[in-house]
Symmetry: C2
Subunit: 404 residues, 2 copies
């Protein structure tokens, strides 16, 4: 049995659309895992029937939109039916000397209140196991019972899901992956809000750190495991010509700003080509020099569409905690980051100076050319499916290693 | 003793600046609470001395930047000194039959490792309380010991702080308060990241819900309690003339979009006047009709400066949880929200249509006029200090109630 949360707040037609998307996502995920099943979506709950309830619950509980998954006994929606199943479950769940509590819900069923249901089930359990004690605040074991239009449900465990909205209910956004800890978490949060995601990585080539592209591919693959029903694309853009242009400049202090502006500019071009509505990045206020408010205000206008920064108000500790839970907390092997970052980056770059430099290096032309170098990696179910080259990538000079 | 987190990651000069700001904030807060104290900031920790350590720790633990606060015994930085204090504390803390663990840190002190310190303190405690047992994974009682350049620290409890960066280290942003649950949480998150905050509320007047301004004032006051060292301003803008203009239009579907664009436009004017770098709002993707990706992309360009949306990737449940912790979870009394929201708001408003409507109603002129109606409320320590009228508010027609 699958419980969802926020979707309850939606209007009836939106709710129906969201639930049918979630049912489809769960179904495709279970198929991908080779788990035979049948799904029903009566009012208020999603029910999955199959021969391996343990694995089904575990796999389904990773689906966006799911708040909790439980292995249930389905009964008739009356007190005798529910009580009988609850007694059986209690015998397996409550160990000698342990306390228990009955948690009851009732929806669309008449004739008794949820309190009456809880009391009746509680005394039935005490009848069967006289040595058990009731403790409503910190019980050793919880027995959940629900009386609903479609029947009764009895369970004793809830596997927490990620919550959020079903993947695919919110239109496409483009998430920038940098090989750091933050950007995969930002992407995951927007996927969890239902956004169709496409990733983009700006490849530094000989100017980037060691094997950043490998780290990005691993992050990308792991994020794809959260939406195993759907393929997830990563576009890799060649930034070398741009880096050549800015390292030829005398002043190194604005490199980070110029680089971030360029990345948003190129991502904006690619996003518009695909009809994506917004960019998503891992910006976290005050974490590094390019993430001051003043620099943010200089960087932001380079994007032709809105930039979503889901981590802007997070603490680093909270980001790390999330990354661990998501499975993308991977320390960059060897050098992290960027080989051309200046020792003293500007924390407040003047917009006019930036505009002059960009005109000098011909930024519009560089951006269009960079957007033409895209390579695409498709991931599904946590695995990179293979590279689909698009024309244009061949312009990158041969013989250069992509390791820094 | 005050422990901070993320600030550790900063370069030496930035760290010094952040710590001195935090020390100043803590000092002013303790003063405001009438708690006499003396603050020192040796390497790695902040120490506060005073006669009421319990209240001092509690008050200091609410300061942004603080990860944890503990009531400590300060000793010499050697094993005998630390052990003696730890034994005393253990006698008070470990009850009969309870287990304990020693958690040791060492920084800048030579002659023993942190493991050796933990082992020595542990056996000293076992000597004094032979019936106590050691349990490193789930102890009933934890004894923390630290050997640092400036001395030894012994404590047995940590009051969790909010984390983040010290208030005032990040420049000014303008947070829009709506009277809902989300916007105060968004504002709090950016204050916690060190942003100087100024609030703005767009007053609907007879078009708004019942007593929205009262709710906003309470949210504003409560948020000010988190930065009791600093005053917090709320600007209230009169939106009635704008609402008159859009309710006169035939098509109601775009009202929410037009309204959100207008609010960002006016807030952008006010923010630029004050030199604020960004706007902050409670946007949460997919929560309501105006928060679809398509509408976000239409609304965002109305702001002349970046819009930060710290809740964009949150779940409603997570927002509610935060609001409770912050103290701003207050249900709107009576009607919530807006009296003119259409029954079927557009989820994908076309940008060109919006531009035509805005030209028709003379939006630029309306925005400048609205920005001229600002009333200011200053809050400090959780209390509204009184209203400072600025000229121009008198243009609002007299005799109209601001209740819906």
């Amino acid at each position: 049995m699958i419980r969802y949360g926020e979707i309850f707040l939606k209007s009836e037609p939106v709710k129906r659309r969201f639930i049918s998307m979630m049912v489809k996502n769960i179904g495709l995920t279970l198929e991908a895992e080779g788990l035979s099943h049948r799904i029903e979506a009566p009012r208020g709950r999603i029910l999955i029937f199959g021969d391996e309830p343990g694995r089904i619950a575990e796999v389904a509980a990773r689906t966006f939109g799911v708040v909790g998954a439980s292995i249930c006994t389905v009964t008739t929606a009356d007190i005798p039916g529910i009580s009988a199943a609850a007694e059986e479950r209690a015998e397996r769940c409550i160990l000698p000397g342990e306390s228990f509590a009955v948690r009851a819900r009732r929806s669309g069923v008449k004739g008794f209140s949820s309190q009456e249901l809880a009391a009746a089930v509680g005394s039935a359990i005490l009848n069967r196991i006289p040595e058990a004690t009731v403790d409503l605040t910190t019980p050793d074991c919880e027995i959940f019972v629900e009386a609903r239009e479609f029947g009764g449900l009895v369970y004793d465990e809830v596997i927490r899901g990620p919550g959020g909205l079903p993947y695919g209910t919110q239109g496409e956004v483009m998430g920038l992956l940098s090989a750091g800890i933050d950007s995969p978490v930002a992407s995951w949060l927007m996927m969890r809000r239902g956004c169709l995601m496409v990733h983009v990585h700006m490849r530094g080539g000989r100017f980037g750190g060691a094997d950043m592209e490998g780290t990005v591919l691993r992050h990308h693959a792991r994020l794809s495991a959260w939406i195993s029903a759907h393929p997830l694309d990563l576009l890799v853009v060649d930034m070398e010509p741009f880096f050549e242009a800015i390292t030829a400049l005398e002043e190194p202090r604005y490199r980070c700003i110029l680089c971030k502006r360029f990345m948003l500019r190129v991502a904006g071009i690619l996003a518009r080509e695909r009809g994506a509505h917004a960019l998503v990045n891992g910006d976290n206020l005050g974490q590094v020099a390019s993430q001051t408010l003043a620099n943010l205000a200089v960087v932001a206008p380079a994007a032709s569409i809105p930039v979503l920064r889901p981590l802007i108000g997070f603490d680093k500790e909270e980001i790390v905690e999330r990354a661990r839970a998501i499975g993308t907390f991977e320390a960059q092997p060897g050098d992290i980051g960027c080989a051309i970052a200046p020792r003293h980056p500007s924390v407040a770059a003047p917009a006019t100076t930036i505009a002059q430099i960009e005109e000098k290096i011909g930024v519009d032309d560089l951006a269009v050319r960079a957007a033409g170098t895209v390579r695409r990696y498709r991931a599904k179910n946590g695995v990179i499916e293979g590279e689909a080259q698009t024309p244009g990538f061949g312009v990158s000079p041969p013989g250069r290693s992509h390791r820094g």
